[in-house]
Every structure is written in C-alpha cells, then in structure tokens.
Amino acid sequence: MGQGTANPFQDALRFERRAPACALVLFGANGDLTRRKLIPALYRLAYGRRLPAGFAVIGNSRTPFSDDSFRDRMREGIRPFLEGMPLEEEVWQAFARTLHYIAGDIRDPGLYQAIGRKLDEISREAATGGNVLFYLATQPSQYATIAAGIGRAGLNQHSGWRRLVIEKPFGHDLESARELDRELHNVFDESQIYRIDHYLGKETVQNILAFRFGNGIFEPLWNRRYIDHIQITAAESIGVEGRGAYYQEAGALRDMVQNHLLQLMATIGMEPVAAYEADAVRDERAKLLRSIRQMRPEDVDQNAVAGQYDGFRQEPGVDPDSQTDTYAAVTFFVDNWRWAGVPFYLRTGKRLPRRVTDIAIQYQAAPHAPFMEPASGAAGFAANLLVLRIQPEEGISLRFLSKQPGTGMRLRPVTMDFNYGAAGGAGAWDYETLLLDAMAGDSTLYIRQDAVEASWMAVQPILDVWSRKRFDFPNYAAGTWGPAAADEMLARRGHQWRNP
C-alpha cells in the first residue's frame, strides 16, 4: 500500500471535511485579523479534529517573538474570540506546538530565505508534503511586496501545492486592481490565488444557492416576468469605531458595495450551475457581474446616492472637511434576458438604525385583483415579498396575502417564516469555512479576478463622478435610514425602501 492509497478509515457520510497536510505561512501574524479571526478559526478547526496531523503555522511580522512567546501571545489574544468554545489545555498545547514564528521585514529577501528553510524543516518533520498556504493578513499595500519576495525566493513553486490568500480590498479602483493582479500573477497563477470575501463564507449566503437551486419551485419565478425589483441592504448601527483614518480612504461604496454587496447580488442573480464546482459557480457569478450595465457619467446622480452621518467628521483621525461616504445607495440594472428592466437597489451605511443584512425580492402584484384593497390600503403592501435574511436573524420569509378573519373578503399581508437558527443553524464560522476550503483547494467561495474587475467596472463610473463632486455632508442623522436622496432615487421608479 503506497502513498497514493486512499485512507480506508475515512467515512465521508459521518466525518466533517478535513484539511490535507500543509503549512500555513501567516504574514501579519501580530495583527488584529490574526488574533480575532484566523487563530481562533484554526483553533476551532483543531478542536473539531479538522486539521491534519501534518500541519504547521509560520507566523511573521516585524515584532520579535520566539516561538514560545508567539504561542503565549496567541493564546491570550484569542480568548475573547472563541465564542463559547472551550480553550482546552491539551488541545491547545498540541495546536500550539504547530505554531512557529519568524520575525522579519517583508522587504528583506533574507526573511523569505528563512521561511523557506523553516518550510523544508516542517515538511520533513510534519510530513506536510511541501504544501503551503501563504496568507496575507497585512495591509493591502504590502501584497505585491510579499508576493514578489515569495517569488524571488522560489517559494511559489514546489512539488507540493502553493497557494496565496489575500483579503479585500483588491485595489482601490479598477486600474489599481488590475495592477495588483499583474503583480500577483508575476509570481502565482490564477489557480493559486484565493481572494477572500468573507461574506461568501457565511452559511446563509451559501444557503441562497441551496434555496435557489435545491428547490424546484422558486427558480421559475426568479426573473423579470415575476420580480418587480430587488433590494439588498447591509446596515450597521455602529460608526467607524476608531477606524476613521482607514475608512476615510475607502468609503462605503468601496468598502461594502464593490465587494460584499455585489457578491450578494451576483449570488442572487446568477444562472443555475450544472454542478456545484468552483469554476462553474465562479463563471456564473462573474457573468452576472459583467452583465451589470455601466453607468454613464450623466446617469450617476440619478442612480447613486452618497451619504455621510452627522458626527463622522468629529471621529478621531477623520478630516473635519471629509468627503467620505459613510452611506451609499446604488441602482444597478443587469442587461440580460433574465433581469432586463429589473432594478437592483443596493444600500449600505454606518450609524443606521440597526445592524442587518438582507435581500428582499419584491414580486409584482397579481395582474388582476378581484378582491377589495388590503386592509392597510397601501397598494405597495400587497405584493409578495421574499426576504433572505443574512444577519443577524438568518432565515427566509415570504409575505403573501390572506383573508382577513370575519365576514366579507378583505385581505391582509401575512408572513411565513423560516428561521435558520431555529432549524439548527449553528454552523461553521465564515473563516473556518474559508480556511478549510483554501487548504482543500476548493475556490468556490473565493473571488476570481474577472469578478473583481467586473465589480470595479460596475462602481468605477460612480467613483469617478463622486471624486469630482463636492457633497453637502453630513446629510443624514445617526440612527436614521440614510439621506432623503436615497428615498427619492427609489421614488422616481415608484418604489420605496423597506424598513428591514
């Protein structure tokens, strides 16, 4: 029985999926993302027996740590982020033994030589087969430098697999996204690059595909013949929370719409796939994004609204005259047979009334109403509404009309609710899912470069117009649903925002 023999003890029906033997090289190991998300996710994978026996982490940052002090730091740092999972001493000790650390400047070629030597040592001792996942939990401005360092040291190619994971933002506009891509592709080919949008790792976002393509009754109604419009909302009740300096360089359109919201839109609007395979799913998402109609400069004011909450300019690190959008609402159209003429309204903002992310599919009213008006008398209230709730109360609800109890035939809207949590929805964390996928070579939930570029192409005309414009900010009060102009944008087409 040789190395290629399958493991006879596997039981796919019972066991959770597990990562193959590999090493993870973590740049930015002293940072917030590592402490809050990555190490807790790795520990949870270890606790759940989903990490392989042959596994190791090499952390890097400029701060000098020994292996032991790095392990101690990670142990203390992750405690608040385990969300109820026990920090069991023996499991932690076994996991901690896989943690290693190399201090160094990412501009120093010696760093990559040292990482290479350590990887060779790990490959021998932990039998990782030379498989390596490079995870860049650093400032995006450092991606190209690190990729080049990896390439110069020859760490990007090996008989084992080599992969690179990067976090958004992927550029700050279309041109910089392409430039970043060129620099990454000098070292890694597209199949080796895993671009994270953690929204795609959420159970409820994956559930959209299950809902659409696992059931036969919805897809026939999923098109322009039956759907009036779609609203996608990602609202936050908090402000920039000390990230003012970063945020004012980004803004809501770049920080949320260009990536998370457009990925949700692509998931809602994509065509069915023949098989749930990485390239098939990503092809369809990318096709949808490429079908988004590009706005002409003269259309931007009618289809995009920027907002800034009152008080943003007083946040630490924020320019008192800041023109940054803390709210963005956009109307997109998709030029294909399925969606022609159906507006997709996307909005996101900070300091809105509540934290909520959902997708509302507003169906057209019945073609003929033989009954009296609904009790509310509001015509818009009558139509069917399907809401896919992403967070915090994950679930699906369908609003329809039913007879009001009593004599006569008056109708009233009622809601049929499916609560994901009520049906045992305590699933994996998004970072657990995404890390496991990257180690397993499953890129379904990662974004391909063509989708990145298509997303930038959709928002670039808005960015161009907004960059030349001087807004009369602030234009909405904290705790409200955004500027009045956003309401007017929908009212022009006879629609109105829901209160999610």
Binding site: M1, G2, Q3, T5, N7, P8, F9, Q10, D11, L13, R14, F15, E16, R18, P20, A21, A46, Y47, G48, R49, P52, A53, G54, E88, E90, V91, Q93, A94, E125, A127, G129, P392, E393, D417, N419, G421, A422, A423, G424, A426
Partner: protein, 315 residues
C-alpha cells in the same frame, strides 16, 4: 380509563399554539421531523426533557414521548406542552410541541393508531428506544430507529439483534465512537502511517468496566471492516472510566497508539505525537448525529456485522 383520540390531542395542540401566540413576543413554530421516544416510566423525566430540549435546537421536531408503565392496570394518559427557546440574536421564541403519554405495557397497542395519526405529515419519523428496549415502533412507519446497545446487559445479544434488523437502525454506541474514528482516520492521513496498513498484525482495544462494551466491539469491528481482513483483536481491561481507553495498531517493530487522556486522545507513533479533543458527548449530541445521518451507511453496517461477530466470539 377515558377514551383518548388523536383528534382531541390535535385540538389541545391548537389551543396551546393559540395561547403561545398571544404572548408578548411572537413565537416561531419549528418542526423538521417527528421523534417518538419510547422510555420506561421510571426513567428520569428531567433527563429526557433536557435531552429533547437540547436536541430540538439542532433538529426541531414534534416529540411524542411514550412512557411505558411496567405491570399493573392498563393506563393511557397524556399531556401536551411546548418546548421554547430564544435563538441567539433572535427576537421571537422558537417552539416545538411535546406530547407525553403514559401507557401500561399491557395496553401499549392502544397507542398505535394515535401515534400514527399524530406523526407530522410529510416529514421524517425517527424513533428512539431509550434503555434496554427492543426497537418496536407499534406499527408506526419510521425512517430510522435508534437504540443504545450499551444500555443492554448483554452486548453480544444487542449487537446480534441490530445486525439482524432489516430496517434502518442506528446505535448511540456507534455515535459514541465517532470521535475515536475521526482521530484514527486523521492519523492515517499521514503517508507514514498509511504505509503501515498492510503490515498491521495486532489490533488492541483497551476499555474500562467489567465487560467489553459495545463501543469497543464497534471500534475493533470498524478497523477490521476498513482493513478488509479478518484479524485477531485483543480487548484489554483498563481502569480509568471511559468506555474506550485506548487503541493500538501494531506492525513489526512499530505501532500507532491512541490513548485517552481526560477529554482528549493522545496519538503516538515513532516521532509523531499529537493530541485531539474527544470530549464526552451528551445524549442529545449522539442523537443529533444519528438523526443527521439518515442515509444508509455501508460503513456502519460493515462495522456492525464485524462487531457482532467479535462479540459472539466472546473476546
């Protein structure tokens, strides 16, 4: 004894929901299956209640708890109630129905049409036979019957009975070793360990207790089924208290050993040394795993046959 009908119970359930819906916060009804629990009347009702409450969070269901009274006069009594909880971040309570029957062993058959009529339509039906109870469902068609062979006084008889069942059966003793199986599988992901597979000569399972528990027979049976060959197995008594204390797969001059240490398992082979969490699981956790695996499982069936054969052999 008053006449009891499914229709009367349905009306009580409707009244129950009406009263719940009048509460300040709304409630969400949840039901993804029917679970019929057969238990002895003397079983701790609080323990069963906790198990059902925990299980409902993962698998919301209509629970029909049948508490069987041994001996005495015929009896058939019932109560209806709701089990509710607030999901994390939720604004509405989630509620499931619980119908509890107390029935005499001598008139158990009277319950049969009521159970059939009360099973939630168009959803799977699972029966759980708590304690040393044969998986008789009183004529109710079920998709899976769950027992716990470790509750039976004779493991060989229990495993033999399950191996002889044609319909879908499940055993909590099997779910109890999932953690061990995952850890063994994880160790053999390593090419170094995998090379040992054709050379394995000895399989030793260490257990605690007076007799070899079904979990130990399952673990050994699963190993043999996976290796695809007959092989002698040594069962060794240990003293610590977990049902399974350890497993060693040995070849000439080398071995892979798995040793329980509190709530984790230490894996050792040559220079390889690792540790994996393997905490004790609640009854609800075990049931949840079995309910989550409704498909026919060749691995379980193969391991069950091998385990029953080992148990018949005595050691």
């Amino acid at each position: 004894m008053s006449e009891l009908s499914a229709e009367a119970i349905r009306k009580e359930l409707s009244s129950l929901w009406a009263s719940l819906e009048q509460a300040d916060e709304g409630v969400v009804r949840a039901c993804s299956m029917t679970l019929v629990v057969f238990a002895d009347e003397r079983d701790d009702p609080a323990a069963i209640g906790r198990t059902l409450a925990d299980l409902m969070r993962a698998h919301p269901h209509r629970a029909m708890l049948v508490r069987v009274r041994q001996g005495g006069e015929p009896v058939l009594e019932h109560t209806v109630s709701a089990q509710c909880w607030m999901p994390p971040g939720g604004r509405e309570q989630v509620c499931c129905e619980v119908v509890e029957f107390t029935v005499g062993e001598s008139n158990l058959g009277e319950l049969s049409p009521i159970l059939v009529a009360l099973a939630a339509p168009d959803l799977p039906v699972v029966s759980w036979h708590r304690g040393a109870r044969a998986p008789d469902t009183l004529g109710l068609r079920v998709d899976k019957r769950i027992v716990d062979s470790s509750a039976f006084p004779d493991a060989a008889a229990a495993l033999g009975m399950l191996a002889g069942e044609a319909a879908a059966v499940a055993d909590l003793a099997w779910a109890r070793i999932t953690c061990w199986r995952e850890i063994v599988a994880q160790a053999f992901e390593s090419a170094v360990c995998r090379e040992l597979l054709p050379r394995i000569e000895t399989v030793s399972v260490r257990y605690s207790g007076a007799r070899v528990p079904p979990e130990a027979f399952y673990l050994a049976g699963w190993i043999l089924h996976a290796l695809g060959r007959e092989q002698p197995v040594r069962f060794e008594a240990a003293a610590n208290g977990g049902r399974i204390e350890g497993l060693t797969l040995g070849a000439a001059g080398v071995s892979v050993s798995f040793t329980r240490h509190d709530s984790s398992v230490l894996i050792e082979s040559g220079s390889l040394r690792n540790c994996a969490a393997c905490p004790d699981r609640t009854e609800a956790g075990l049931l949840s795993e079995e309910i989550g695996a409704m498909a026919r499982e060749p691995v379980f069936l193969g391991a069950l046959r091998a385990a029953a054969k080992l148990a018949r052999g005595g050691r």
